[in-house]
Each structure stands twice: as structure tokens, then as C-alpha cells.
């Protein structure tokens, strides 16, 4: 066919399949992180909620301190503290309904506890006793995830399954700024948007992935800007403003529950402690930066708001601290008891039924343990 024969078909038009599929503007985050405390919006916040957040934040901080102390006493193998990030941790848990699911990363013990998991069980992993210390179904909390970002597709799958079954369950998945670089982050967000799964992704941007600062992790205007590339809403929030985090999260949860699909939330916060007790943060950051963030402390912000508006007084503060001390004393006491482990358990849950090979191995270990009890090798 020559060009002459084709003349009629000539249409200087855009490609047939093309239609702008949606206006990206509503997906983009605001230029500044959302804030409530210390702004006019604070007046509209529910005082009860603020007080509840406050009490939990104080508890959370104390929990972090206690757990860190337990590492020094050899009672915990390792502890990644979330001091400075309590607003994110607590608001995450409080924004959910009981039927919802939480998918925590390895740093999110506080959120796990705030969700109702026993404080000692939540530390089982870090104590070195067993991998996940709690029954995930008891409080709808997935195992703490150490391989970064790998829990995000789980959250998407669970939310999708719930929706298929007709349950109005929302999954909240937590991840760090470093974790956003992993392929699993990308794949999870994409599946979530394509499936319109009721998931909320909460990125705690605490400035570092161990020693690596955000500037070496991404060149994006913000992590929340990643949302538009999946066709979901991106939201930016001051992660140390508990009221703001709770508001943004609750909105995203509502949106998801109503069938509106997933949201990506970046909470701008800071890790006050080192990466874990084993880390030396002075190798990669200066005191001035930490000091600046101490001034923007989540407990402090909330305390000032509450006291300024006379929703909290010295007595209330003392009560919150005392409650936290009680929790800490109980934690300390229970963590100081040696857990009783059965070595033969290592074969019990590899499969529904141990394979013949595992049965043989279990018999071998049993014989060894008996020999050990009788003293000496044979």
C-alpha cells in the first residue's frame, strides 16, 4: 500500500489509547507536612483523644527506655528504640479498629504493644526466645518484619482478601524511609493501587537508615510524592505531632474502608536514639541535629498543647508518668525471669507434621539432651 492510497487515513491525532487517566493533582501531597498542635486546627481536636495519645506516648517513651536498659543487662539481644517516634507508633495503633490489621516493621514494638499485645510477648523476638512472640491473630498484628519492606505486600494481600470476603477490614503497613528503596515497597504499592486494596502505608521518615541519611536514599521532593506514580494519594505529616498523625491516618483508614483505595503517608520524624543499642550514632551525625529535634519532641509538643489549653496539669502529667513507671516495673520484673524453652520445639513448627527427616533429627537431639543430663558425652 503506498502513501497515496492511504491518504484518507491520515489523522494528526494523539495515539488512540491515550486519555489522561486521572488528574494527578489530588494525589500530590501538600508542600508542607500537615500539623495540628500549636496551630489553629488544634482547637478542633478531641480533648479525650489528645489525652489518650499523651498517656500512651509517655508510656511508649518509658517502654523504649526500659527495653534499652534491658539490653545492657543482657536480657534482650538487641533493641531498636523508637524514642522520638512515639507519635507515629501510637497514632498508628489508635487509628485502627479492632478488626483491622497492623503490619509492623522491626522497629515498631511500641505500635504492637499499643495494639494490645502483651509487652513481654512483644519482646520475645528481641529477647532471642522465639521468633514471633505473640499470636498474630489475637490482636491482628503480623509478625515484626526484619527483612525490610517485605511486610508491605503481605498487608496488601490481607486487605485484598478481606475485601474479597466482604469484610471491611483495613491493613496498616509501617515501613522506614530506608525501606522505601526496596523493590518490595514498589511492588506492594502498585498491587494495592491496581486492586484498590484497603491499605494504608505509613512511612516513618526518621532521617536515617542506620547511618545513611535520607539524601543518600532518595532524591524525591518527598517520599509522599511516590504515591502519584501508583495512582494513590500521598500525604505528608509532621510525624512528631501526634494529633496530626492521628488525623491523617484516620482519614486514610476511613478512605480505605469506604473503598477509596490505598494512601501513602510520609511522617517526618527523627530517631533520637542510635539505630539500636549496638549502634554508635556519633559516627554519622552531630549533636546539633539531635538537639534541634529534641526541641520538637512529640511528647513535649503534645504536653504544651494540653497544658496550654488546661486539658492537662502537673497532676495529670505525674499520673501518666506513674502509669508508665508501673508498666516499666512490670516489664523489668517479667523480663528478668528466665524464659523456659524446650529445645525440641525447634522441630515442632517447621511443617504441620514433622517430616521423617525431622523426626530423626529430633530423636538425635533428644538423645543428646538426655546424655547431657546424665553428664558428659557418653
Amino acid at each position: 500500500m503506498t502513501v497515496m492510497e492511504q491518504r484518507g487515513a491520515y489523522r494528526p491525532s494523539p495515539p488512540p489509547a491515550w486519555q489522561p487517566r486521572m488528574d494527578p493533582a489530588p494525589l500530590l501531597p501538600d508542600a508542607e507536612p500537615h500539623r495540628v498542635l500549636g496551630t489553629e486546627a488544634a482547637a478542633k481536636a478531641d480533648p479525650d483523644l489528645l489525652r489518650r495519645l499523651y498517656a500512651q506516648l509517655v508510656r511508649g517513651r518509658r517502654y523504649n527506655a526500659q527495653a534499652t536498659a534491658l539490653t545492657k543487662q543482657g536480657r534482650l539481644a538487641v533493641y531498636p528504640s523508637s524514642t522520638g517516634q512515639e507519635a507515629c507508633e501510637i497514632a498508628a495503633a489508635l487509628a485502627l479498629e479492632e478488626r483491622d490489621w497492623l503490619f509492623p516493621s522491626y522497629r515498631d514494638t511500641l505500635a504492637v504493644v499499643a495494639r494490645g499485645v502483651d509487652p513481654v510477648e512483644a519482646l520475645t523476638l528481641l529477647r532471642g526466645d522465639w521468633h514471633t512472640g505473640y499470636d498474630p491473630y489475637a490482636h491482628r498484628v503480623a509478625p515484626l518484619s526484619t527483612p525490610l519492606a517485605t511486610q508491605l505486600p503481605h498487608a496488601v494481600g490481607l486487605a485484598h482478601a478481606a475485601r474479597l470476603k466482604g469484610d471491611d477490614v483495613v491493613a496498616l503497613a509501617m515501613v522506614g524511609d530506608g525501606g522505601t528503596s526496596e523493590g518490595d515497597f514498589h511492588e506492594a504499592l502498585n498491587f494495592a493501587a491496581v486492586w484498590q486494596a484497603p491499605v494504608v502505608f505509613l512511612v516513618q521518615n526518621n532521617g536515617f537508615a542506620i547511618s545513611v541519611p535520607l539524601a543518600k536514599q532518595t532524591a524525591a521532593p518527598s517520599l509522599a510524592h511516590k504515591a502519584v506514580g501508583y495512582g494513590m494519594r500521598g500525604r505528608l505529616v509532621d510525624g512528631n505531632d501526634a494529633a496530626a498523625v492521628h488525623e491523617v491516618l484516620s482519614d486514610a483508614v476511613r478512605h480505605a474502608r469506604a473503598g477509596g483505595g490505598p494512601t501513602l503517608i510520609e511522617a517526618v520524624t527523627y530517631r533520637i536514639d542510635a539505630h539500636t543499642n549496638a549502634d554508635d550514632a556519633t559516627r554519622y551525625r552531630g549533636d546539633a541535629e539531635v538537639a534541634a529535634w529534641r526541641d520538637h519532641d512529640p511528647i513535649l509538643l503534645l504536653e504544651r498543647e494540653l497544658t496550654g489549653r488546661e486539658l492537662l496539669d502537673e497532676e495529670g502529667i505525674a499520673a501518666a508518668r506513674e502509669d508508665a513507671e508501673t508498666m516499666a516495673a512490670d516489664l523489668r520484673e517479667r523480663m528478668n525471669r528466665d524464659p523456659r524453652l524446650d529445645p525440641l520445639d525447634i522441630f515442632a513448627h517447621v511443617y504441620a507434621e514433622p517430616t521423617p527427616q525431622l523426626q530423626e533429627q529430633q530423636a538425635l537431639l533428644r538423645a543428646e539432651l538426655e546424655a547431657e543430663q546424665e553428664g558428659g558425652r557418653r
Partner: protein, 334 residues
Amino acid sequence: MTTVAVKPATMAQALTRALRDAMADDPAVHVMGEDVGTLGGVFRVTDGLAKEFGEDRCTDTPLAEAGILGTAVGMAMYGLRPVVEMQFDAFAYPAFEQLASHVAKMRNRTRGAMPLPITIRVPYGGGIGGVEHHSDSSEAYYMATPGLHVVTPATVADAYGLLRAAIASDDPVVFLEPKRLYWSKDAWNPEHPTAVEPIGRAVVRRSGRSATLITYGPSVPVCLEAAEAAQAEGWDLEVVDLRSLVPFDDETVAASVRRTGRAVVVHESGGFGGPGGEIAARVTERCFHHLEAPVLRVAGFDIPYPPPMLERHHLPGVDRILDAVARLQWEAEG
């Protein structure tokens, strides 16, 4: 479940039927993967499922294997029984972290509270003239990952029976489908076409007294052919089809080798670090004083899978198997 009389069928058809019956029996069974819905899969194994059960039950996912397996984990957490298709062996590698760190470990991590009944279908192996990355034998990776069952059928009937068992299992199962047997046909167990085969039991496909060929999946027909050819050379070979690499059926295998006193392990996966080492070692541990010769291995070479025009030199064939049998120190006998 309907139990129509079953005529000669291909392995692919038996797999389709197994998926269909499992989905009909249990609404928790969901099929997902790349091109499994509208297209019915590149090997047509999921043909018709989206139509019969809807796209929510048989879902075309985005193109991301870690995402497929990772979301399947979440779905299993909520009580579904996902059956995931990895389009080709080498394209399961992106999902390796989800497989090794979560799928294989979740039950254990949670002390049994959170089992993951996921079936991961992986078309594997060569012999179909596929270009690079389309012919890997990846079973060694899965065998070395505790927490996974690893199953592979060699017959049409087993394709049905083992896939049903895999889907019914409360543990994750890597279900390896020998690509070059997809179009193999047989009468498919006319009495019990839809019989479920328990996982973990090897089967003697051919009885013999001279030596045992221990094999599985795509190499089973090759071994049977070799056993026929061996008769001309005076050897009466027994052929054991493992069917399940994990759990391993030590009993059946060791019983056979104790009877014959000689064994060759045959598979097309690379030899070094491949399944054959494990199998030879455990057979030797169990049958040492019955062995007239070391357990030998006939395997793919220790090379990246070769281009199609050369694959026949790589794949264990009848001659290479018989050469190995010949090396089983027959002189020592007389």
C-alpha cells in the same frame, strides 16, 4: 465434584482439571499470576478458570513476582489458599526473598499460629527449545530451604493427584511442573482419574534387580526408556520416581537400593550442589554395606543452561545413563 470418565489427556490438562476441582471444592482457593486469567497462562494450564470462577478467583496480577508471592502470603494469612503461578523457573527468582524469608518460615516464626497454605507452581527444566532463562532446574534452591515441600509429578495421573494434595496441604508447596512433559499423554488412571496422591511417597515405576535408577520429574520417562534399552545389555533396572523431594521417601529408595545393590541418580539439574548429591549421600548412609559400587550421578552439567541448539548435549539421555550403569563395577560381582 464431577467424576467423568477420563480419556487420554495431557499433563497440562490434568493440571487444569486439578485446579478446577480444587476451586470448585473450596472457595478459599485462588489462582493468581501473570497471564493466568484471560489468556489461561502461557502453557494454558489455567485455561477457563477465570471464566468459570471469575477474575477475583483467577487473577491476572501486575508483572512482579515478589509482589505476587508477597500478596499471596497476605491472602493466606486471611484464610485463603492461593495457588501462585510463576511463569517460568528463572522468573521465580525475584520472589526468592519472600519465599525463603517468609513463605518457608512463617509457620515456624509464629509457633504454628500462622500456617501458609500456598502452592507455588513453577514450570521447570529444559528440553523445549527455550531461550536463556526459560529452562532452569531450580529444585536445589527449594530443597535447601526448610519449611517448603517440594513436589514434582512425572505422570499425568500424578500431575492431578499431587497438585490436589499440594493445594490441600496446610504447608507451602513448591510444585515443579516439568515443562517438557506438559504435552505428554497417558490414559490417566481411568479408574480413579481424580485420585489425590499423598505427598512424600516415592513410587517404583519399574521393578528390576540389577540396579536402581533414582529420578524424578522430567527424567522419569528418560530413565524408563533407559531401563528398556538396558535389557539388551543384560541389565534389569529398577526405576524409582521420587515425586516428592521434600519430604524425602528414604524408605522406598533405600529398600530398592538394598535389593539391587547399585544405584544411579538421574536428574537434569546441574550435578554440583544439585539434588543428586543429597540423594547419593543419604542412600549411601543407609545402604553402605549393600552397595557393590558407589552411587553414581547422571545430571546436567555445571553450566548455565545451554542454548536450544546444544541442549541435547546437556540433558541426561539414555546413552549417558547407560554409560553410568556400565560404570557400576559389574566385574567386582563375578
